[in-house]
């Protein structure tokens, strides 16, 4: 691990002012905010992340979960994953989020990981994590050995010729389906970013993963008011039963009236280069009867544009079955 200066900013403004001096908020940042540290310290040990300054934001007042006067759920950036997953309001009204978080990592890591950090979770692609290998995400222009190499766990949706790294987050998949909004405070003021606009496709700049700029501090996330009567489910498929990243996952939020689907929000995990909201799946469900034929054609629509590599062709069928099973189970709940 490279030496760094450890700073505990006295307040939010001081944190932002220091972070604004970083040359980038993306890969190669020389100033990093530290939440739980579960991704950042891991990558610092691997010399994938080499910040000169680390800003400990764990004592800033960003640790509340509250309902706003207009019925939104406001979740502070340093709320721990376990506190969010076990919050009674989340378990009752945003069950898909609670399930997604509890399907991720381990109890110890969920006690550490923050909401803000989880939004910025980095890929598990082995080439990204190994500084002896080329990687366009880590060193722009160096190449992507994953495309011709070991790519069994990598993405089939949203890939480019430069990067096929999977976004590993479970929490983000549920937040995509719940249409969360990410609130950022930066040197130029605050802004609210719709969830779908926050993460970037790799394209020819895979080192840019989000729209964050130097000094941008995620302060909180809001969820829209609960969808009364919605059926929610997060289903995760992986190589072992627990404590493993998804090969395929699905977050499903359905509203069904008289056997017909009136509203559907669908996102997939483990298969995309970002948390994968599927407007194709939502269109295939809306207005249709909640039956097996609809679910199967929805899964076909969601994976129609999938582009597999040599080792991960199986993910297309796995993701279809994952989504079909999730829809069937949610509809019957």
């Amino acid at each position: 691990m490279q030496i760094f200066e450890f700073i505990r900013p006295s307040d939010q403004a001081a944190a932002i002012a220091t972070a604004a001096q970083s040359k980038t908020a993306q890969q190669g940042a020389d100033v990093r905010f530290m939440g739980g540290g579960t991704t950042l310290i891991d990558l610092m040990k691997l010399n994938v992340e080499t910040p000169d300054r680390v800003l400990d934001i764990n004592r800033l007042p960003l640790d509340k979960i509250e309902v706003t006067p207009d019925g939104l759920l406001k979740i502070g950036a340093i709320v721990r994953n376990s506190d969010l997953a076990y919050h009674p309001k989340v378990q009752k009204d945003y069950a898909v989020l609670s399930q997604a978080i509890l399907n991720g990592a381990s109890a110890q890591i969920r006690n550490m990981a923050t909401v803000g950090g989880n939004l910025l979770q980095r890929t598990r692609c082995v080439y990204f994590r190994d500084t002896a290998m080329p990687c366009n995400k880590r060193e722009p222009g160096s190449g992507c050995p994953a495309i011709t190499g070991h790519n069994r766990t990598l993405a089939i949706l949203g890939t480019s010729d430069h990067c096929i790294a999977t976004n590993p987050s479970d929490m983000c998949v549920a937040m995509a389906a719940l249409e969360a909004t990410i609130h950022v405070q930066g040197p130029k003021g605050s802004r609210a970013i719709p969830f779908g606009d926050f993460h970037l496709l790799p394209g020819n700049t895979p080192h840019r993963e989000t729209v964050l700029e130097p000094g941008d501090l995620i302060t909180h996330v809001t969820l829209p008011p609960p969808i009364v009567g919605s059926k929610q489910l997060y289903l995760k498929l992986r190589d072992r039963a627990s404590y493993e990243f998804a090969l395929s996952s699905a977050a499903v939020v359905l509203t069904i009236a008289s056997g017909s689907i009136t509203r559907a929000r669908i996102a997939l995990g483990g298969v995309g280069t970002k948390p994968w909201r599927s407007p194709e799946a939502e269109a295939a469900l809306t207005g249709k009867p909640a039956n097996e034929a609809t679910f199967r054609s929805t899964a076909e629509a969601a994976l129609r544009n999938a582009k597999p590599q040599r080792e991960n062709k199986f993910k297309i069928e796995l993701a279809k079955r994952c989504l079909t099973y999730a829809l069937r189970t949610a509809a019957a709940s």
């Binding site: 691990m1 450890f6 891991d42 680390v54 076990y86 381990s106 109890a107 110890q108 006690n111 550490m112």
Partner: protein
């Protein structure tokens, strides 16, 4: 199972005490250039260095860590993980380093009563917070019920993951966890046992939960 099954005398001298005593010269040379080995008596007891003392390492910063109810005023390299600080600086070696990347759970400790992975924490993040390691749970003469249950149920083979398993298991007692074995397995999934003592680990935990 009777209560006397839960008692066991540690071997004397213990392996740890023997290594610390016989190998102290070697240990000192191995840690030269690293963060303070601190004063250590022959029995392995540790005295914390007063603030400002200890090796003069460039960039070292002062920190007070409260471990098992005792405050340790230390000077550490900012890169020091909580795990390395506990083991190498404070010389509490019950907490184990397995993968050092958050994938095995051997380094599990409690911070403010919640279980965390000490390998993915910087020690500096926990200045002033309450840290509990396996040494803080009990002693060979007065074991925590979970430690006693692990002994009685033979919930280990090589023992390397055991302190992490026990720290997780003790934290689990206060977490939302269903009564069945499957719920215990799910919440213990962050602690890997390569010997495969899982069945006995679950039994040891359920034994304590049923008595509570």
């Amino acid at each position: 199972m009777s209560d006397k099954d839960f008692k066991m005398q540690p071997p004397d001298p213990t392996r740890r005490k023997f290594l610390l005593t016989s190998g102290s010269g070697v240990a000192a040379s191995l840690v030269a250039g690293y963060i303070p080995a601190l004063a250590r008596d022959a029995a392995g007891a540790v005295e914390s260095a007063p603030t400002g003392e200890g090796p003069n390492i460039e960039g070292a910063v002062p920190i007070t860590l409260k471990i098992n109810g005792k405050a340790h005023s230390l000077r550490i390299d900012p890169r020091t993980t909580l795990l390395d600080c506990i083991r190498e600086t404070v010389s509490l070696t019950g907490t184990k380093k397995g993968c050092d990347h958050g994938q095995c759970g051997a380094c599990t400790v409690h911070v403010n009563g919640k279980r965390v992975l000490s390998c993915l924490n910087l020690a500096l993040m926990h200045d002033g917070e309450e840290i509990t390691t396996v040494e803080g749970l009990g002693t060979p003469d007065a074991m925590h019920p979970m430690q006693a249950s692990f002994l009685a149920c033979d919930a280990y083979q090589c023992g390397y993951c055991t302190s992490g398993q026990i720290m997780s298991a003790v934290a689990l007692l206060k977490e939302p966890c269903g009564p069945d074995d499957a719920s215990v397995k799910e919440l213990m999934s962050g602690n890997i046992c390569r010997c495969g003592a899982y069945a006995n680990i679950v039994e040891a935990i359920q034994h304590v939960r049923k008595r509570a």
